[in-house]
């Protein structure tokens, strides 16, 4: 039998991890990694934190190069799949035959225009890659007034960094900051800290629009308007799957994976681009640890097929903003009041929320703890008396 050919499209964290994991597990076939980014891979979470504050350089956040045997096609995009011939078509006209394909093309910033919420002529800024981060870092020197549209994780981390750099910051969204992502008790902690540091928070359930032309004004449905020297949209990301048009691999706008990261026979996907079936249907889970989990499963499936261990997400989420370091193991958002397992607001807290199925979500607030111990709390249900937690 000829040597098996695996092509991984997308030099994202997921893509690089699939390649690395395949070789570490002894894959002996041909392996090709296609990536269209002009830079070598770098650590994206660091962009909104250390890189933006000036503490990091691109060199210091670069990911180590793959040292295993892999044919890397850098700076060239995949433009399609020839399904009959089982070939990837590249932008430079080259074709890569494959037995197995792994789709790891990641995601890009979603815009208010994508959501139909921007006037024509608006010049919209987003924050996703190193050039966005460089642009913002240079602008922050002059302490511009900053308006951020979107009070999710990225929007609030940007707000924290901009406020720390001396800018007046307003965050506008249709809902309260982080409420949908974290649940009430944790999001209140963060929102209170943001307000204490002078950030203005505004929301209206009927939504937000970008108005005007050039740098837009941000308008809430009740007519309140916010103007800034700098307006940044942080309204999520959208998967890079245009190159898969006409392949039949896209269902309802998603590349859907099963619990072994399979999309179709011989075709797998992992990372920000992939939608995995959870309690609420297929959803993308564009987080660091999710990309790692899926990449490990994809590699295992390529080697073991049905014998591979299925994907069991082990959610691990963290954020650092407004002086709060939050780490969470288990499902989010959390509902109801937490149990205080240990600590106090002054020395840091360990909290759990039982899920009613014998497990729990566990959070460490400003408290260092080995991840193994935080994860252990998700498997036990402490019986302490619930209490209201405030800073």
């Amino acid at each position: 039998m000829a040597r098996e050919r695996v092509v991984v499209v997308g030099a994202s964290l997921a893509g690089v991890t699939v390649v690395d994991e395949l070789r570490r597990r002894g894959f002996g076939g041909e392996l090709t990694l296609v990536g269209d980014e002009p830079h070598s891979a770098y650590n994206r979470p660091a962009l909104s934190k250390g890189f933006l504050s000036g503490a990091d350089t691109l060199e210091s956040i670069a990911l180590p190069a793959l040292s295993c045997e892999v044919d890397q096609r850098v700076g060239v995009a995949a433009t399609g799949i020839d399904g009959d011939r089982r070939e990837i078509v590249l932008a430079d006209g080259d074709r890569l035959p494959f037995d197995h394909l792994v789709i790891t093309t990641g995601a890009r910033a979603r815009t208010m225009a994508d959501l139909g919420a921007a006037d024509p002529g608006v010049r919209e800024s987003t924050f996703r890659d190193v050039s966005d981060a460089r642009t913002l870092r240079d602008r922050l020197v002059d302490r511009p007034r900053v308006v951020i549209v979107g009070a999710g994780i990225l929007g609030m981390e940007l707000a924290s960094t901009c406020a720390a750099a001396g800018s007046a910051v307003t965050v506008v969204d249709r809902q309260r900051p982080l409420r949908a992502q974290l649940g009430r008790s944790l999001s209140d902690l963060v929102a209170d800290a943001a307000i204490a540091r002078g950030v203005t928070l505004a929301h209206h359930p009927a939504g937000v629009r970008l108005r005007g032309s050039g740098t837009p004004a941000v308008e809430l449905a009740d007519g309140r308007r916010f103007e800034g020297d700098l307006v940044i949209s942080a309204v999520g990301c959208r998967p890079n799957l245009e190159w898969l048009g006409g392949t039949g691999l896209i269902a309802d706008g998603d590349v859907r994976i099963d619990d072994r990261c399979r999309v179709a026979p011989g075709i797998l996907a992992a990372g920000d681009v992939a939608a995995f079936r959870g309690d609420h249907g297929h959803r993308r889970t564009p987080w660091w640890t999710s990309a790692l989990d899926q990449a490990h499963t994809a590699a295992a499936t390529l080697l073991g097929g049905d014998d591979a261990a299925p994907l069991v997400p082990s959610p691990y989420f963290w954020t650092q903003q407004f002086g709060i370091t939050l780490r969470v193991c288990g499902a989010l958002p959390v509902r109801g009041r937490p149990t205080v397992v240990a600590g106090s607001p002054a020395e840091g807290l360990l909290l759990t929320w039982p899920d009613g199925r014998g497990g729990a979500t566990a959070a460490a607030v400003n408290r260092r703890i080995p991840i193994s111990r935080l994860r252990a709390l998700t498997r036990a249900t402490p019986s302490d008396t619930p209490m209201e937690v405030r800073r």
Binding site: G50, S67, W318
Partner: protein, 62 residues
Amino acid sequence: MRLTIDRDRCEGYGLCAETAPELMHLDDDGELVLDHEDVPARSSTAAETAVRVCPVAALRAD
């Protein structure tokens, strides 16, 4: 190959220790401890992987 931790950056997320438990662990206070600063040759790819999974780029292999 030699591993180094940037203590100012390390937040103790622990993904590196889960990736390469033969090279490092988190102590009871959640601080990362390198058990082998000089990486044995057989563990060099594990070390590179541990560097890659750190979400705050706090670990380096040179």
